[in-house]
Amino acid sequence: MRTLSQVWEIAWRSIVRTMRQPAQIIPNVTFPLLLLAINSNGLRAATHLPGFPTSSFLDFFIPIAFMQGALFASGTAGVDLARDIDNGFLNRLALTPMRGVALLLGQLGGAVALGTIQAAVYLGVGIAAGVRFETGAAGAALLFVLAVLIALGFGTLGVLLALRTGSGEAVQSSFPLLFFLLFLSSMNLPRNLISIDWFRDLATVNPVSYMIEAMRSLVIEGWNAQALALGFLFTVLMIALGLAGSALSLKTRMART
């Protein structure tokens, strides 16, 4: 069996397994929407701050729904793989000619599928709720692509955690740490309006800020090449590092078994 076919077989299994768990999908899709509805109203007063880049907090905040969705997708990918490790599926797979790269890429199928559904829903709901893209339809399409890539990137981190720990509980316990990255970013205010120095410094060195700012630029600024380049760069780096780390961890785990 060729590598591509192997990737597809595992990816299809991962997608089917994810889609068969509506209890997992529905909260993952709806929770960021609820937060979007609440925060876009609760923080609307922030638009009165001098220098705030837009008069609509919904436009400013909508990228956060994509980010939260991606974080939830990472949990799905990690917990599913941890379950495979726990119930011996990975061990049985190790006895087949399945290549490691196929296993890794395939396992991310569920996360990418979930990320794609989430991105489509958030984009549709956002536009219906009045979000207007300064970059037009092309910008919306690019945001969709970036959101799916970010879901893939966080998915690789979920897989990495699962391979290193082999425990669904450990993956779930690590979830707050990933959320921490989102909290310590420019999610609620632009970095130039963050008045606490240490927080602004943390947000500046946090790659998540640049992913958010790339998506945000498409909505409220227009085509900002620097923001987009940084956003895509950090996303691709996260995917590459996540996959590299996962590949190393897979080797170790296969050796153990």
Binding site: E169, S173, L184
Partner: protein
């Protein structure tokens, strides 16, 4: 075991022992409030410059009270997870057979939640003081603030226990935490009630947590407001969810045969 008090104390002792032996169980209830506090106090302090924002204690104090209430509610909700887990492992069914005063079980879980939250509250307060939170209230005011939070902790554990006793499965976890999360965030989290506009202002006005929050903020700044209303809301929530939890206990008893 004969008296209700003995049942409650024995169960609380057991829950605390489990917690001490499994720090991983303690991590999420501790991390989430700290994360929220750092993100809100650090990232949103510029909101105190929004025209019409009036709070004498400064933004760190303003946010601290919300995070304190959030930690109280969620410490209660996380205890609901333990109740559900005890049913899944069969421990709770054995308890139902063993004890003569079963209402002591709910009191025991509530006492555990209170002890767990007390630990979180101490750490959170230390962090807030390090972050230069201004305390304008006197000793009685501060006791008033923590008492209001304790009411919410009690309401949280009773709500979550009611769900756990009905479903007797950890799969009910989203049902325990999502409404609490929404109720908390549908209050004036980031700015005072006067600055909320539109539907969220109406919802926040009808939300009892708003009055706990506003009174708590008043206590911390040394200008108590709506104290009677806040205590009535706290007592009302605890009483209402108390009935909910005890009815759940009756259902669990019937299911156990």
């Amino acid at each position: 075991m004969t008296s209700r008090r003995q049942v409650a104390l024995a169960l609380a002792y057991r829950q605390m022992t489990v917690l001490i032996k499994n720090p991983a169980l303690f991590l999420p209830p501790m991390l989430f409030p700290l994360m929220s506090f750092l993100a809100f106090a650090g990232g949103l302090s510029r909101l105190s410059h929004v025209p019409g924002f009036r709070y004498e204690g400064g933004y760190t104090s303003f946010v601290f009270v919300f995070v304190l209430l959030q930690s109280a509610a969620f410490s209660g909700v996380f205890m609901g997870f333990n109740v559900a887990r005890d049913f899944e492992t069969g421990f709770a069914r054995r308890l139902l057979i063993a004890v003569s005063h079963r209402s002591g079980l709910i009191l025991g879980y509530a006492l555990s939640a209170l002890l767990r939250w007390a630990t979180v509250a101490i750490v959170l307060t230390i962090v807030a003081v390090i972050a230069q939170m201004k305390i304008g209230g006197n000793g009685i005011d501060i006791v008033g603030m923590y008492t209001l939070a304790a009411f919410l902790n009690f309401a949280g554990v009773l709500w979550a226990s009611g769900i756990a006793l009905r479903l007797r499965s950890t799969q009910g976890a989203p049902l325990m935490q999502t409404p609490v999360f929404l109720a908390l965030f549908l209050s004036p989290v980031y700015v005072p009630l006067d600055l909320l506009k539109g539907w969220i202002h109406n919802v926040a006005t009808a939300n009892p947590i708003t009055y706990l929050l506003e009174a708590g903020r008043g206590f911390l700044s040394g200008n108590p407001v709506q104290v009677l209303l806040a205590f009535a809301c706290g007592l009302g929530l605890a009483a209402f969810f108390g009935i909910w939890a005890f009815r759940g206990l009756r259902r669990a008893e019937r299911a156990a045969g």
